[in-house]
Amino acid sequence: MVPTLSIDELSVSFAHRSSTVEAVDRVSLRIAPAECVGVVGESGSGKTQLFLAVMGLAGKADVSGSIRFEGKELLGGAAAAINRVRGSKLTMIFQDPMTSLTPHLSIGTQLAEVLVCHSGRSWVEARALAGEMLERVRIPDPRRRLSQYPHELSGGMRQRVMLAMSLLCEPALVIADEPTTALDVTIQAQIIELLRAMRVEAGTALALISHDLAVVAGLADRILVMYAGRIVENAVAGELFRQPRHPYTAELLKCVPSLSGPRPPRLPTLAGQPPQPGDALQACPFAPRCPRAADRCRIERPALLGGSTSQVACHFPLA
């Protein structure tokens, strides 16, 4: 079976003063058809840059390696080739649903435009299909929304519109970058429900990027943990929470406050802070904060080793 997305040795780097900053550092990953992969990491870990590169939106960054979508190479190809899949078969939704929508076009026009461009539909047809899609993402009163403008909708509704837009051309993969981070917790629960339903109904693969492990926990089949531009752990979701193998994953999980269980007088914390762009990194970038670090971690870069569903980049993994 051809993976929906396969990325090999992808690096994304930026010129910073006189040196270069590696935002994404030799990352390889696969996403199978209809699979939901969670990508977690703190700010600056490279999770967004990785997927912006997949969408061809990395701007001035230097992107190297290979990105294949349904077997076809996206990197280095003609712009026309990527434009055919981008926005139709390969779509992305972002954190802030206000800035992702154009303020001066009606919702109906913005949705219909996708179908006019990608599927060659007439505007009338496209508008009707847009209305149906709004119904599928459970927006109340969908026909009326078509003539409304983004500012007339709440944040949760705008995110539903974005999701509707991403689904119009029956994509093979939807990339959702922090889709619920800007929303209230009750609205977040609705959007998570909707993403879950969308996976069941449409069989779409989903890359769910989030800093919030708990949001990813409810949806993902498999989770990738990123740190300093690298994937440090790849595991089946249940396994990752039951038995994290990378010390970073384990420490991070301890930091997540819980709604049940004992309340410690002090919260467990991770010492130090994640590396900033431009910081000199040790062979293992987590070594300065790692309780298990040894000399080897400062000399030899740990490779991401293991089978396709359980990989860890650590010289001294747990378990």
Partner: protein, 317 residues
């Protein structure tokens, strides 16, 4: 019980039924941490601003250490300000980019202790930087040279340098990564233990609130709908809104989710009369549309504003 440090009575901001805050009454006691939770637009930040006299309430009173802040002449209010400090959500935006962090932390001292010498202030700034976990040598640096977590430490140092009696944290850890969030919460807990100050901790993150608050107040569309000790609120929430809010928090490992709440309705009708939550409430009765439930004490110190608070309601399925 001892005298409350802060007593807010019938506070209203804005006019009529469209008011941003309506009939808000509560007390804060010395040395406690009280969390204020609710969705965006519920009025949490407006309440913080009203306490600090940064917005002018249209009705009610805010009594702090026995002084009515809303009816005090300017000089009296200004004198009280040193005891009331706030830390905001965005640490970089709340620091002046053209001021060294040392000068930023020294500013409150210049204003409230004008007789202090520059050397004294430098010494206190250095001590404060060390106290919040930064090296004293960083006083001459500018905000852009620090990470978000470090900027929040600086904002806390600036708020704490006058040893306030009340510290308001308005989403102070919300923009921080989870590993940094814990460090800042621990810092606030340490400062509170050492200084004995009172903390009003505004947050939308219920799991964080549970870790550090003694009591919790839940706000919905400008009204307090439940006030309880942290233990009883998280174990036995009563108001349907509180229950829905708790049920919506994603958890590790994932728990089977209850049916999520429908979107907020802000129609004029829903706030024109009755309980503002009724359109989203799975337990609403005809009574809820006509009569606005008032905050009443259910059992010891557990206050709820709901017509059905005395009934055992079935869990949401």
């Amino acid at each position: 019980m001892n005298q409350p440090l802060l007593q807010v009575r019938d506070l209203r901001v804005g006019f009529g039924r469209q008011a941003v805050l309506r009939d808000v009454s509560f007390e804060l006691f010395s040395g406690e941490t009280v969390a204020l939770v609710g969705e965006s637009g519920s009025g949490k930040s407006t309440l913080a601003r009203a306490i600090l006299s940064l917005v002018q309430p249209t009705q009610g009173s805010v009594e702090f250490m026995g002084v009515d802040l809303l009816r005090s002449p300017g000089p009296v209010l200004r004198a009280q300000r040193r005891n009331l400090q706030i830390v905001f959500q965005d640490p970089l935006a709340s620091l002046n980019p053209r001021m060294t962090v040392g000068d930023a932390i020294a500013e409150p001292l210049k204003i409230f202790e004008p007789q202090s010498t520059a050397a004294e202030r430098r010494q206190r700034v250095a001590a404060m930087l060390e106290r919040v976990g930064l090296s004293a040598g960083l006083a001459s640096r500018y905000p852009h040279e620090f990470s978000g977590g470090q900027c929040q430490r600086i904002a806390i140092a600036r708020a704490m340098v006058l040893h306030p009696k009340l510290l308001i944290c308005d989403e102070a850890v919300s923009s921080l990564d989870v590993s940094i969030q814990g460090q800042i919460i621990n810092l606030l807990l340490d400062l509170q233990r050492d200084e004995g100050m009172t903390m009003l901790f505004i947050s939308h993150n219920l799991a964080v609130v549970r870790q550090l608050s003694h009591r919790v107040m839940v706000m919905y569309l400008g009204r307090l709908v439940e006030i309880a000790s942290s233990d009883s609120l998280f174990i036995a929430p009563v108001h349907p809104y509180t229950r829905a809010l708790l049920a919506a928090v994603p958890q590790i490992p994932p728990v089977a989710a209850a049916a999520p709440l429908v979107d907020g309705s802000f129609s004029a009708a829903s706030i024109a009369s009755g309980c503002a939550f009724r359109d989203r409430c799975p337990y609403a009765l005809p009574l809820c549309a006509s009569s606005d439930p008032s905050l009443t004490e259910l059992v010891g110190a557990h206050w709820v504003a709901c017509h059905r608070s005395h009934e055992p309601l079935n869990p949401l399925s």
